[in-house]
């Protein structure tokens, strides 16, 4: 029918990415810039003493603190606590987010009734709700898991929804022509076609979820990396505090790397740049 074919988006096959030989050059430039910044920083604090070391410790002091952290059992306990909460919150967010996203994306009725509220909630600053969660769920893991979930679930829902809505009509028609119906249509066509979008949402959700965890520990926690960071800052151990921040940056980036690797593994047919719009 012409209605359906009018909305059927035809994907243009793009040539695969050309090997980027020149990118190594940029990597070296970046390393150089970072080295220069560290050198200036070190000089300003330790040698010229322009800034008191108690406010801004020099990179060498931070490096020492960082080394100490890595052999500190207390740090690893906090690390396990935080990542455990993030993992639990994320798993729930993925299950709920993908299910809700597929349902809302696939059903026009839900799309018109539920989706506006999802966008509304998505744009609400959920961080403001953090104190409520701590009041309601206590200082333990529960409030942190809830925060991780709340922050992570919306990008997952909305991306999955976007993916389910944009599944090409001709793919669905192909499914129907070859006898795929009902639930099978979901499994064989909708879910795989949506998968790259979901993974992109999960990537964003993971980053936000980690922020939620640290924030929750900041506002009222009994353990975890955020708690440790807050403690160090209150003790004016700035070298420890900055080392903690670096740890968090590393964790966040490793998580993103992990998920994008996963995405390339699970959905190698999909070009990353095509889903940019949905995130």
């Amino acid at each position: 029918m012409t209605v359906t074919s009018a909305t059927g988006t035809m994907r243009i096959v793009r040539p695969r990415r050309v090997i980027r030989r020149s990118e190594a050059k940029w990597t070296w430039l970046l390393v150089g810039v970072i080295a220069a910044i560290l050198l200036i920083w070190e000089a300003a604090v330790s040698w010229l003493q322009l800034i008191p070391a108690s406010f801004l410790p020099p990179p060498t002091a931070i490096a020492v603190s960082f080394g100490k952290l890595l052999v500190d059992p207390e740090f690893w306990a906090a690390f396990g606590y935080s990542l455990g909460n993030v993992a639990i919150g994320l798993v729930i967010a993925v299950v709920v987010g993908v299910t809700v996203g597929l349902a809302v994306g696939w059903s026009p009725v839900l799309r018109f009734t539920v989706a506006p509220f999802l966008w509304l909630l998505y744009s609400t600053p959920k961080v403001a709700l953090a104190p409520l969660f701590i009041l309601g769920l206590g200082l333990g893991s529960e409030s942190k898991i809830a925060l991780v979930f709340l922050l992570a679930v919306f990008p997952i829902i909305l991306n999955t929804m976007e993916g389910a809505v944009t599944v090409s009509t001709s793919l669905v028609n192909a499914g129907r022509v070859y006898g795929v119906n009902g639930v099978a249509l979901g499994w064989k066509i909708i879910v795989p076609a949506t998968l790259p979008y979901s993974l992109s949402g999960i990537q964003r959700g993971a980053a936000l979820g980690f922020t939620g965890e640290v924030l929750g520990e900041f506002l009222g926690g009994t353990g975890g990396l955020g708690h440790m960071l807050e403690y160090a800052a209150y003790q004016f151990q700035m070298d420890d505090a900055i080392a903690m921040v670096i740890v968090m940056v590393i964790i966040a980036n490793l998580t993103l790397l992990l998920i994008s690797t996963l995405r390339r593994r699970l959905a190698p047919w999909y070009d990353d740049r095509k889903i940019a719009g949905a995130s």
């Binding site: 029918m1 793919l171 028609n173 070859y178 795989p192 047919w269």
Partner: protein, 275 residues
């Protein structure tokens, strides 16, 4: 006229019988009711190759989708093998203009998709059938490739293999070569002609290319637009096997081409004006 006429009995019952078919729908944006096709009558016999020719937007794809069971008729009936079409079925396969391959599946698995929902075909020997279909369309060696690694013409070969693997009685092709580059298109026209002549399938082939319609069709169904309806039906009467080269200078081909040019010229102008 919703009752099927029995006059054709002496020639054997048609495989596809379309009577007074109309499809219209509401356009949400304008609130108007749009008639895509109106009053279409057509009988197609077993083994016939029908090309459906018309300008863009004349409803020829809608017509094909009704036969495929993807679109419900507003009025009228479509019978396939004597029973009314209520949805897609294993007796009809579709080749889509934009290929509609599953990008997450290899060529082999895409072709397998053509028969995996049919329980009786999933028994022993299905691998051989898939392999055979792949070889028939000339894709041997590409079984483990993904669609994105193939050119448009090769992707459509996969679409073709997927359609024929379950051996349907009817093949519905919706401008299958419309998105393929010109050179490949000419090669594939000849191949489709040979393939269909060899398998003896009944084909409904949508196109907006006059040459394609003549080269492939036993009969050409010319559509007009606004609303979409059949303008005329022409027997090509050209000998088979045909090829792009062999018919180029055939006087019958030239005559048909001129005739169709005139018929479509008016249509295309009308379509352009009403937009």
């Amino acid at each position: 006229m919703t009752t099927t006429s029995i006059e054709r009995n002496e020639a054997g019952a048609p495989l596809i019988s379309v009577r007074d078919l109309s499809v219209s729908y509401d356009v949400a944006r304008t609130g108007k009711r749009l008639t895509a096709i109106e009053g279409v009558d057509l009988d197609v016999h077993e083994g016939e190759f029908i090309t459906v020719l018309g300008p863009s937007g004349c409803g020829k794809t809608t017509f094909m989708n009704v036969v495929a069971g993807l679109v419900k008729p507003t009025t009228g009936t479509v019978l396939v093998g004597g029973s009314p079409v209520t949805g897609p079925g294993p007796d009809r396969a579709v080749v889509f203009q934009d290929y509609a391959l599953l990008p997450w599946r290899t060529v082999f698995d895409n072709v397998k998709f053509g028969l995996e929902m049919q329980k009786e075909l999933k028994g022993a020997g299905w691998r051989e059938r898939v392999q055979e279909a792949i070889e028939l369309v000339g894709l041997a060696g590409f079984e483990q490739s993904y669609p994105r690694e193939l050119s448009g013409g090769m992707q459509q070969r996969v679409g073709l293999a997927r359609a024929i693997v379950a051996e349907p009685r009817i093949l519905l092709m919706d401008e299958p070569l419309g998105a393929v580059d010109a050179l490949t298109r000419e090669v594939m026209r000849d191949e489709i002609e040979k393939l269909m002549a060899a398998t003896g399938k009944t084909v409904l082939f949508i196109t907006h290319s006059i040459e394609e319609a003549i080269l492939l069709g036993d009969r050409i169904v010319v559509f007009k637009s606004h609303p979409g309806a059949i303008k005329e039906i022409i027997e090509t009467g050209l000998e088979r096997p045909r090829s792009e080269r062999s018919i180029q200078h055939d006087p019958r081909f030239l005559e048909l081409r001129d005739h169709l040019w005139d018929a479509l010229q008016g249509e295309a102008t009308a379509a352009a004006v009403s937009k």
